[in-house]
Symmetry: C2
């Protein structure tokens, strides 16, 4: 069974969220898909606590606050969120797009809005030639089954929240656990860092700061050790290793959108500035992924793009119907959605 919808939005960053609002103002309901488990895209994932100053009429807010404000703003329009899913395939038939996600959710939609930002986020990987062959056996960028690490020699690389959280969680059951971080201070939560220091004090964990992993030692195809070099004096040593966990953060990746047959730049999609339509009628692109002459990757530009794309989509979804520009001060939809009493003019 497929989900029938007027509009499918790919990407739940700030521009994708605001696209729900602009469609809603025109009476259109939307479904929205994002590969992350929560809405907000880069804002929530990469800089939730950093202040943003250039959202018009919002003198300052953090990335997460911006997302929260947008979520409050779109609430009246009741869009359906499909999180933790990536759009995999798009095919078109008779003016309807069939879209399939990584969880096999199927949509039949008249319009698609790509608000994919700089792409979906994938873990930043370790750059040693032997690394790829070890992946998911002895080298891990995420932890799916914590139990598999019990009783083993574990090395964790990284100093952010993921590295600290897993070090604290896995150390008590490990044969040995060493956390190696290239800086002399952790980036993650101080409380977790304190827990790890306590584990180190009681001999359950080792902390190596200001050091890099500079090589892997293998016995056949089996990882046996990680070479560590101190940044200051270049001294090297090898840590005995059964399992290597790497938490170097997330890096953006465009993913399957690159294969949809759209006119694209290296990591962007070409759009028309009057409609923010791609070269495929019915597929729009907004936000950082959209490109046109003069484009700046600003959130406020994505908001404008979402507004114009919504008007163009309305004309596709309800052809021949006139779309008057209504101001929200008097919009019947806003009045109805918000239960506002009508004012006499």
């Amino acid at each position: 069974m497929s989900i029938q919808t007027d509009a499918l939005i790919v990407g739940a960053g700030p521009c994708g969220l605001f696209q729900i609002f602009e469609l809603g103002l025109l009476g259109l309901k939307a479904h929205i898909v994002d590969s992350l488990e929560h809405p907000g895209g880069q804002c929530a994932e990469l800089y939730p606590d950093k202040p943003i100053y250039d959202i018009p009429a919002v003198p300052v807010c953090t990335g997460q606050e911006l997302v929260d404000k947008l979520m409050a703003q779109i609430k009246p329009f009741g869009a359906t969120f499909h999180l933790g899913e990536e759009v995999q395939e798009v095919s078109a038939q008779d003016g309807v797009f069939r879209v399939r996600t990584s969880k096999d959710t199927l949509f039949d939609t008249k319009t698609v809005f790509i608000a994919g930002g700089v792409g979906s986020f994938t873990p930043r990987k370790l750059r040693f030639p032997e690394a790829e062959g070890l992946e998911d056996r002895q080298l891990h960028y995420r932890v799916r089954n914590p139990g598999q690490f019990a009783g083993q020699h574990i090395v964790i690389l990284g100093g952010g929240d993921s590295a600290l959280d897993w070090a604290v969680e896995l150390a008590p059951e490990a044969e040995s656990l060493t956390l190696v971080h290239r800086r002399d201070e952790f980036r993650g939560a101080e409380a977790t860092a304190d827990k790890l220091r306590a584990l180190a004090d009681s001999g359950q964990a080792n902390i190596v700061l200001s050091a890099n992993a500079t090589g892997l030692e293998l016995d056949g195809d089996r990882l046996t050790g990680v070479e560590i070099t101190q940044l200051e004096d270049k001294t090297k040593r090898v840590l005995e290793t059964d399992q290597l966990l790497v938490f170097f953060g997330l890096s953006p990746k465009l993913g399957p959108i690159a294969e949809w047959g759209l006119e694209m730049g290296r990591k962007t999609i070409d759009v028309d500035t009057s409609t923010f339509s791609t070269n495929i009628p019915g597929i729009f692109a907004i936000g950082d992924i959209a490109d046109y002459p003069g484009k700046k990757k600003l959130i406020l530009s994505g908001f404008h793009e979402a507004a114009l794309a919504a008007f163009a989509a309305k004309a596709i979804i309800e052809p021949g119907k006139k779309v008057p520009l209504q101001y929200t001060t008097t919009s019947p939809i806003m009045q109805k959605r918000l239960g506002v009493e009508e004012e006499t003019g």
Copy 2:
């Protein structure tokens, strides 16, 4: 003496105000001119108390609140406001625009940003052939000297705040005062309407509702009466009148901008969507006055237009200098302006 500036903004509505911010982010200082006595344009003048729902990340705010938020946001950039002045003349020489206002303020500026909205606001006038000749003698669209109305027969047309305010203020000193309104309810503040009703109850004022002024009576070039027609039964009568005050609201007028030699529509200026430049290099147009394929008169579009215009202006003002896109989370200018401590990444 003329004022030397990088940027002159014409119009202090929300888009003109945000233009200050976008220029400021690029290190450019601006002067701003508006014909109104306060910043905010239409938002502050026409709908200060009406809720606006479509400012991204601001789920609801009134027109005045929007202006207040923008004023707070641009404060760090210290633009100079020239209010109650209209730009009259623009001439260009050697890449510098000389701009003269109605108060004879002179600017020499490298760039001009027209954020004129739907134009400056002029009172909506009474459409009788005799009206123009009576203006400022016995027919008034604004009150400059309240004392001149004492001891006279006054008729006020209108039912909004201006009509009510002046009726309440002038009635006690008038020989007679009649307020005529075409609807059966006032549009202005209820408290003021109550005051006027109290004056009517004590015989100091008359209120005529659901009636229109349908003619003027003159004795030579002197106004003697206003003909009033009840909407329901079409009965007519003439009110003895020495002074007629008309408060039908404000209507936009483009003003001298129409004569600058810009490529224009009927009340709009054509711009390029990559820079929001007009056909005259160095003159930009943003907000409701700007026109391009797909244009919608939305405040959020004006914000986007201001951002791209600022980048294009920077290239004119400081040619050859690279303008990197900086995010405000890490922008040295924002850090300095706001005294924010630098975060380690």
